[in-house]
C-alpha cells in the first residue's frame, strides 16, 4: 500500500471525505480499546478510587501498585507466563510445521485416501474438540501425561491442525508448480523440496495460521483446567481466572492480573501481525 499524499489532500471534497473516514475509524477504535484502557487505568488505582472515579486517571492520591504486588506475590505469575508461553509456542510451532507438511502432502501428491483425509481434517473445523474432553482426559491418564504441559500441547495441536491444514492447503495451491518441478529437475529430494522451498514460501500464510491458532490456545481456560490444573503446570489464563475467583472483590488485584495477562498476547500479536496481512492478501484465506 503506497502512502503518497502530503499531509492534507488538496481538494476540499477529499478533505471532508477523509475526515469522515478517520472519524468513523477513530470512533470504532475508541469503542474497541475503551474497555481495555479502563482495565489498565484502574489497575493502577486504589480500590476506592476505582469505584468513585472509574474513568479518572490515577493521580498521586489514587495511584497504587498494590494490585500488581498482590498478584506477583500471591501467585507465581512468572511461572504461569512461562507455562503459557511454552505451551503456546510449542503448540503453534508444531501446528505450523505438521500442518504445513500435511497440507503439502494432501495438495501435492495424488494418492488413494487423499480426499478422505482432507475431509477428515475439514470436519475438525466444525466440531469443537471440547466435546471429547472426557475421552481425552482418560487418554492422557493412560499415556501418563495428565498434569503435564505435553498433554496441553498435544491437544492444542489436534485442535489447531484442521484450520491450519485448510488454510495452508489453499496457499500451497497458489505456489507455482514450476518451482517444485524446477527443483525436481535439479535432483532435489521431496523432503528438501518441502523444507528448502515450500516452507520458506509459506511464511505469510503461516503468520495467518499462527495468529488464528494462537488466540484460542493462549486464551483457553478449559483444557488447562482439566488436563493440567496443577500449580506447576498452570497457564496464565487459568491463573488469572483463579485469581479472579479468589480476589473477586479485590478489584485492583483482579485488574492488575488482567492487565498482566493482556501484555504477552499483545507482544505475540505484534510479532506476527506484519506478516498477517501479507498472508491474508496473498490468497490463503479468500
Amino acid at each position: 500500500m503506497k502512502i503518497v499524499t502530503g499531509f492534507l489532500p488538496s481538494s476540499p471534497l477529499n478533505v471532508s471525505k477523509s475526515v469522515t473516514v478517520h472519524a468513523i475509524l477513530m470512533a470504532y477504535t475508541v469503542i474497541a480499546l475503551f474497555p481495555i484502557i479502563v482495565v489498565i487505568i484502574n489497575a493502577f488505582k486504589t480500590r476506592k478510587a476505582i469505584f468513585n472515579d472509574p474513568l479518572g486517571l490515577p493521580d498521586s492520591d489514587s495511584f497504587t501498585l498494590a494490585g500488581f504486588q498482590e498478584v506477583l506475590l500471591r501467585s507465581d505469575f512468572g511461572l504461569y507466563s512461562w507455562n503459557s508461553l511454552v505451551v503456546t509456542l510449542l503448540a503453534v510451532g508444531l501446528v505450523l510445521l505438521l500442518g504445513a507438511m500435511a497440507a503439502w502432502a494432501l495438495t501435492e501428491y495424488k494418492f488413494r485416501g487423499n480426499f478422505l483425509i482432507a475431509f477428515l481434517f475439514a470436519m475438525g473445523i466444525m466440531i469443537p474438540i471440547r466435546l471429547g474432553t472426557v475421552s481425552i482426559l482418560s487418554l492422557m491418564v493412560e499415556l501418563d501425561l495428565a498434569n503435564t504441559l505435553t498433554a496441553l500441547v498435544l491437544v492444542y495441536i489436534a485442535q489447531g491442525l484442521p484450520l491450519a491444514v485448510y488454510i495452508l492447503s489453499e496457499f500451497v495451491r497458489t505456489i507455482p508448480k514450476e518451482l517444485t518441478e524446477a527443483a525436481r529437475c535439479d535432483a532435489v529430494s521431496e523432503y528438501k523440496i518441502f523444507f528448502c522451498i515450500i516452507l520458506p514460501l509459506l511464511k505469510p500464510a503461516m503468520a495467518t495460521v499462527a495468529v488464528f491458532t494462537m488466540i484460542p490456545i493462549w486464551n483457553d481456560l478449559w483444557f488447562p483446567l482439566i488436563l493440567a490444573p496443577g500449580e506447576e503446570t498452570r497457564t496464565i489464563t487459568l491463573g488469572v481466572q483463579q485469581f479472579v475467583g479468589q480476589y473477586v472483590t479485590n478489584w485492583n488485584s483482579v485488574l492488575s492480573a488482567l492487565t498482566l495477562a493482556i501484555v504477552p498476547v499483545l507482544i505475540l500479536y505484534t510479532i506476527f501481525s506484519r506478516q498477517l496481512i501479507r498472508g491474508l492478501t496473498s490468497g490463503a484465506v479468500k
Partner: protein
Amino acid sequence: MASVKLNNIKKRFGDVDVLHGIDLDIKDGEFVVLIGESGCGKSTLLRLLSGLEEITAGDLYIDDERVNGRSPAKRGIAMVFQSYALYPHMNVFKNMAFGLKIAGKDKTFVNNKVVEAAKKLKIDHLLERLPRELSGGQRQRVAIGRAIVRDPKVFLFDEPLSNLDASLRVQTRVELGKLHQELKATVIYVTHDQVEAMTLGDKIVVMNQGRVEQVGSPLHLYHHPQTQFVAGFIGSPKMNFLNAKISSVGKENTQIMLESGRVISASIDSSNSKAGDRVQIGLRPEHMSLPCKENKIEGKVTLVEHLGELSYLYVDIPKEGELVLKIDGDNQYKAGDQVVFGIQPNNLYLFDSKGNALTRLTTSLEAE
C-alpha cells in the same frame, strides 16, 4: 552434450490423447525449436523429455540410452521455465547453487561454477539480489544460469522469452543464440514466436494438434512448407491466402484462376493435380512488388502502417479478399489509394484442398 531420440512418443491425459506419436531425431549440439499453436502439446512434450510427466507409450533415448522411466534428476537435463521458476526466497547465487549444493558438491567447486556461469551471463554483479529485485531480462538470465551450472546434457526451454517486453526479447534472443554457439549444447526450445524460431533454430519442428507437421531448417520451412499450416506459421506478417482453382496444370508452370476470374501463373509443379481442382494460393506480403510486370492484381488501400524503413499496405481486392503487402518505407500511399501490384511466378505457393503444398520449383539459393 547428447543426442535425443523420440520414437513414436504418445501421451494421454485421462481420456484425452494429447500427443499422437512423435518421432524426432535430435543430434548432439543441435538447437531444435518446437513451434505450434497454443495447446498443440509443446509443453507436454518438453515435460515428457524432462521426466516431469510420464510417457504413455513410445521410447525416449538420450545418448542412445532408453530413459523412459528415469526420474528427472537422473536424465542429465536442465529446464528453463516460461515463468523462470526462480526460488523467490533465495538470492541469485543460492538459486544457481541450489542444485549443486543438493548434489553434495564441494563448496569451492559450487562457488566457481556459479561465478563462472554468472560472468558468462553478465549477472555476476547481481549475485546477492533476490529475484524480485531483478528485471525480467535479468531473471531470465538467472534461470538460464541455474541450468548452465549443472552441465546438463540437454537444455529444455519452455517459452523462455515470452514474459519479456519486445526490445528485451530481441536482445535476449541474440544472447541466447550466442550462448548456444559457445556452449555447443543440445537445446530443445519451445516457443510460439516464429521470429524466435527462425532466428534461433538449427532445426524447427512445427507441431499441430499433437502431431509433428514438418521438421526442417528455418529457411527450408520458409521456402518449402509442406502444408498450408506451416506456411501460415512461418513468416511475418502471415502469408496471405486466396481461394482459387487450377485452370491449367503443368510440370513447370501452373495457371490458376482466382475467384474474380483473374488468371495468374506460378512456377509450381501441378502434374499430380487436374484442372478445376480447388486450391489456395499463398502470397507472402514481402513478395508482392508494386512496380510489377507479371501476375498483376489491383485493389484499394484500406490502411497504411508506416514503420519507418518499411510499410504495411492493407489492400482490399474486389471479390478476393484483403491482402497485406510489405513494401519499402519510402512511399506515400494512403488509405483510399488504388494500387496495382504483381507477384513473380516463382514466389507463389499453392496448397490443395487438404492443405498440402504443391511442389515449388527450387531456385539455386534455396537449395540447401
